[in-house]
Symmetry: C2
Subunit: 489 residues, 2 copies
């Protein structure tokens, strides 16, 4: 076997084992008996040890040094493998092991702190996590910027300076839009009681309309919706609030977007280094365009209005227009995961600036709460009323996910670009959506983006799909256009 073939065979087995780890994560959050928690931790740790040993196996390094790619896909595989190997080889085993050990403890501390609104009890854990991840970033960066090094894990090839520049251009326009909307009349919300079974039935229908392949996936309930797995086993979860059906329906569409990307990758790439989504930002572009640009459009919500009347009888809003306004209602709120399309990106920008400062040692964890609250008031126009509505709301920092947040906003930006290109290519897009038919859109996304997996780096993936290089323009125009019309600004 050639060095290339050896590297690919090794990577394929590693990927198969990584899929198993993902499946265990699914199991843990859906069906696992609660008494199995401690045992499962030990099982997962054993599997993570195997994965870590394979990913830092010196033989893999030798093969990658000598490997010659036979074609474009092979070159992309080597690009992905070399990046991951170089990264993993730079992290001292002691540090990787300490991070693995501290993470569940820090997460527990965060959960307790959030429950008790007690920032002080979480600060030592946060400081420890910042120190360890900074150290990891420094080891990877090798003299470069540690925050950029961490970002590479989630969004390779997009440095934080580029992100900061984009965000700085976006912020004033989003703040202005947010101010104008909150100054206008707020449309009525949808109210009522919506039984779980009917919500799940409708969300399954919507998943089917958006192309989710149930023969290679399934939908279950979980506390936090997520998508898990690649290739032929891509499972999603959703949740139900009986007084808020949009929670279930749009969580489902969001996860269907992630799952469609994984299910849509060319099967020739299965279990290879390019057999899955190329980055978190590109992944989020799929979940966001399914959920927002398509799922929350005037056309598709018109169909949802009718489908909901069938399932639930008469609704508290009288017609399709009022329903569309209810789906896209913008109000004050503190929680990122519940934010509307307009305010969501402001949440991300706040976190991005703060976490970059933390990792770069420009902000101390002890000053984080004040920095958060000051910034929140400036961007959102109202003050944080408690820690669980402020710095304690997200799990990310407690588990060391520094550098992850910007990928959410990047996903929105990419979704804006993809939607612009898609509209130009599909003249009757809205007519289809108005009948609940998303096939033209999902086929376009599959052909232009999903099937290519990680063949091209993230920005190239979007550029290839859109026919133009991505920037924040299309997203801002979309938001200003949509919400300007809705709120008659």
């Amino acid at each position: 076997m050639t060095a290339y073939e050896n590297a690919m065979a090794h990577a394929r087995q590693t990927e198969a084992l990584a899929q198993i780890a993902g499946r265990l994560g699914w199991d843990q959050q859906t069906v696992m008996p609660r008494g199995a928690n401690a045992q499962r931790s030990e099982e997962m740790a054993a599997l993570e040890d195997v994965l870590h040993a394979r990913r830092t196996d010196p033989r893999l390094g030798d093969w990658l040094d000598a490997a010659q790619a036979p074609d474009e896909a092979g070159a992309a595989c080597l690009r992905e493998l070399r990046r991951a190997y170089a990264r993993n080889a730079k992290v001292p085993a002691r540090l990787a092991s300490e991070l693995a050990r501290i993470t569940p403890l820090a997460q527990d501390a965060w959960e307790a702190a959030r429950h008790n609104e007690d920032v002080a009890s979480f600060l030592p854990w946060l400081q420890k996590m910042i120190t360890l991840r900074r150290e990891e970033g420094q080891a990877i960066a090798n003299g470069g910027d540690p925050y950029d090094a961490l970002m590479e894990d989630y969004e390779p090839g997009t440095g934080s300076d580029a992100i900061a520049t984009i965000f700085d251009r976006m912020r004033p326009r989003l703040v202005a839009l947010r101010e104008a909307i909150l100054g206008a009349d707020t449309p009525p919300a949808l109210t009522g009681h919506f039984p779980q079974d009917a919500q799940l039935r409708l969300s399954r229908r919507m998943a089917e309309h958006f192309g989710y392949d149930f023969t290679r996936g399934r939908i279950d309930l979980a506390v936090h919706p997520f998508s898990s797995g690649s290739g032929d086993d891509v499972r999603i979860t959703t949740r139900v609030a009986v007084d808020d059906p949009f929670n279930c329906l749009y969580s489902t569409l969001h996860e269907v977007g992630h799952a469609a990307y994984e299910q849509g990758v060319d099967r020739a790439y299965a279990l290879s280094p390019i057999g899955q989504g190329v980055s978190m930002g590109v992944h989020e572009s799929q979940s966001r365009i399914y959920e927002n640009q398509l799922g929350r459009s005037r056309a598709f919500t018109g169909w949802v209005f009718g489908a909901m009347q069938q399932e639930f009888g008469a609704l508290s809003v009288p017609d399709e227009d009022a329903f569309y306004a209810a789906v896209n209602r913008v109000t004050t709120g503190f929680i990122r995961t519940e934010a509307d399309e307009v305010q969501y990106n402001l949440h991300i920008m706040l976190r991005f600036d703060l976490e970059r400062a933390l990792i770069r040692e420009n902000l101390d964890a002890t000053d984080l709460q004040e920095a958060w609250n000051t910034r929140f008031l400036a961007d959102f126009g109202y003050a944080v009323d408690r820690p669980s509505h402020g710095i304690l709301q997200d799990v990310h920092w407690s588990v060391g996910l520094f550098g992850y947040f910007p990928t959410y906003a990047l996903g929105n930006i990419y979704a804006g670009c993809l939607f612009k290109a898609m509209q130009a290519d599909i003249p009757d897009l809205q007519q289809g959506l108005a009948t609940g038919d998303a096939q033209a859109a999902t086929t376009w996304l599959r052909d232009r983006l999903q099937r290519h997996g990680a063949l091209r780096p993230p920005v190239d993936t979007i550029t290839h799909a859109c026919g133009f290089a991505p920037d924040e323009g299309p997203l801002l125009e979309y938001l200003e256009g949509k919400f300007g019309a809705l709120y008659r600004l």
Copy 2:
């Protein structure tokens, strides 16, 4: 770390990974999307490679050579590890890999052959599987008997000569009992329509009454009922036939017996080499005593009769005695898994003699069908009418499970001994069971047997629990007494 500590740490991680493999098996048979089959095979193969490498790791051999046990439990752990290591080290990697490759293909061939009643199409696969497993048995036996070597995988320390001697003593008494019963009047069966939900509700109640810990397990539906996992994550499955509620109820109790053993092992042994059931035979003793000696007793079926009336309304049988007779009905039949307590062991003896002859080259696969049918007529008194009722009925041989069948009968023999000892120790056993309360019995089993896991070898485990060495006497007395009374022989 000492050699002992190194060996134990290594084994603990291997066991954690083996638990993951078990969990994937559960997933595959309960919740996995059907389109994921091929991908899952590759994932499982990757994990099996990891497990095989660990189980034959030369470092483990060195540690085991040098290890000194600190106490009785440690000595038992070393006993189990050394036996497994010596076995695995003797099997050539080429042979292990060829067996892994051929097994799913042979199983597919068996499924098709059974469906088409086509023995000829399965014979080449059967011959291949016999050859490979014989070769494996010879490699392990190192000049000794290859069938005994294979049996060791499932029932260490009990050679096939001992089994043959016991079976030869049992056969005439069981054949005589079977003839007498089939010559007597057959009691009416329970008939009716029994909705799935109610069957599952009642089977869950029975599982609770028999001590199944739902905080460390769960019950799902599957085509073939099974129990899976050890320690704090022991899941069982059941199945439902709407015209035969005993299928669901007693499959559940059977699996609860297996699960209770795994859940009952001393938690100090968790993930250690003695942290699970010691052998298939001892495991089967637990499933059988829960299902038969306890679950199908006159006392407990009296409670089931009342519980079924609550769930399903009036039944087709008028009273507890008629219900007890319906539960324990003995009729002609071809299928092992559907056999009653009397005829079940005759099925096993037939398979044991034939498979031992196959492995020992005393019987050729081409003569197997005739040998099966001749023997069946002699032992059961009626002729096999088609291959799927004869040599094609069981999956075992197609997946190479030679040496496994005798553990089923051994389990029945052990259950007979345990029940005899239990009755002597618990004077009011029947009074408890008559109210649906199995706690006295399950507590006795947990204390005497389950909590010890694999601390002692199989026969010692039973001897320790019973206070006497096991033989077939108690089982035969129990069967002759129970069915003699039921059928007024």
